[in-house]
Symmetry: C2
DNA sequence: ACCTGAACACCGTTCAAGT
DNA sequence: ACCTGAACACCGTTCAAGT
């Protein structure tokens, strides 16, 4: 057995990095730990990401952003090193020329994207200060612009609508993730000072449903009602 | 001159940490660098934040979240060590019982909060996975719930409206910060593949105006129209 | 081309010690 | 109570070397 040529690839590295983020959190994603998980020396990663960890982060964000790529949820039992997923990667359906109405296309994107952000919510901090100029991001933006144009909007209104849609999904996910910790016993300080919060403390929230309804309202509001 | 008792305080530490974040970025905020900026040994910070850097991050997020506290923009010229801001800190106006109509109160909060997030956009990644259960966050939530109740909403609708408002501001800011890098020469890959993006590439965006209009639309949509 | 192993500068945090 | 200084385990990254 040669100790070289461990079958590393950018795809496999990103997938493993995401598994660590999902399972242990972003702070625990370390080049050395990532190497261990890939059964390789940490420095081997630099051969596929010469610009280092920041470039790896870019790759991770791209991976999550790319709705055309199948996403791997956190697998509890790990079949590990037996790499049966070698060829896989850029099978992007090759654009089957989606013929659904514009609003269905936008809804489908929004729900897919939300699901991916929630599944990898530990990577959310990475998303924030990375510019959305990857191919995956541009593909999504083009999809949005095409749909809103089809809906009858003109130039600046299309751009505004695209911005609003992106902001909506991101904002909803961030809110949901932040609130996720709260249902516990008590926010500690709900004494007499915050009566309205105390009164509404046990009102459950159906995030899924709220997202869907909010999205419908937004789309209606953006394209004349 | 005693080298002890350097006049350190949680407030001063947080302020200095924010200055580093705003000026150099979150990654450059280091306990040692923070110590240097405070003209103190790095380990002195641990006396005010015994739980370490994570607790400091909590403090930073609280500071930004607390709209009732005056915010310090990034000062170019630095009057430095001459601490003339000793007493300052928890002067929160002591609740002057805001008597403006509910929507004006919400608009004021939203614009203030947005401005703070934009001013300290480098700290946005910290906001994301911290639970909004600080006193400052609960005060804001109580303000929202009170306003929406005054607007005529009932139980679950109030909670939904509060969630939507928070998500809106966060989402808008994150979108704006992400897009901030883009107006440059070219997103690199606007060849023939993304015709709609290419066509709308030079449509400028007035974020301030768009935020205001979107907020108005949201408030109208949330409270019967 | 792909990976290893030692090395370097730096990091968060602990702890005993000073005043 | 408040801060220092040395120490420890760990980190990202470089570089020469192996195959």
């Amino acid at each position: 057995m040669s100790r070289n040529n461990a079958g590393l690839s950018a795809e496999r590295i990103i997938t493993e990095a995401l598994r660590i983020i999902d399972g242990q959190g972003l702070r625990r994603l370390t080049m050395r730990r990532l190497g261990d998980a890939l059964e390789v020396e940490a420095m081997a990663v630099y051969h596929h990401f010469p610009l280092g960890k920041e470039a790896l982060f870019d790759g991770i964000v791209d991976y999550i952003t790319d709705v055309s790529r199948a996403d791997t949820p956190l697998t509890p039992g790990d079949p590990s090193s037996d790499a049966s997923d070698d060829a896989g990667a850029d099978d992007a359906d090759d654009d089957p020329a989606d013929d659904r109405p514009w609003d269905d296309r936008l809804r489908a994107w929004a729900h897919d994207y939300r699901a991916r952000l929630l599944r990898h919510s530990g990577a959310l901090p990475l998303l924030i200060n990375r510019r959305p100029d990857s191919v995956a991001a541009l593909r999504a933006l083009d999809l949005h612009y095409a749909a809103f144009t089809e809906a009858g909007l003109n130039g600046p209104a299309v751009v505004r609508a695209g911005a609003a849609l992106d902001a909506y999904v991101t904002g909803a996910v961030v809110h949901e993730v932040r609130a996720a910790g709260l249902p516990g016993p008590d926010p500690a300080a709900v004494d007499g000072r915050f009566p309205h919060v105390a009164a509404l403390r046990d009102v459950g929230a159906d995030h899924e449903r709220q997202f869907r309804e909010g999205l419908d309202t937004l789309l209606a509001g953006l394209t004349g009602r």
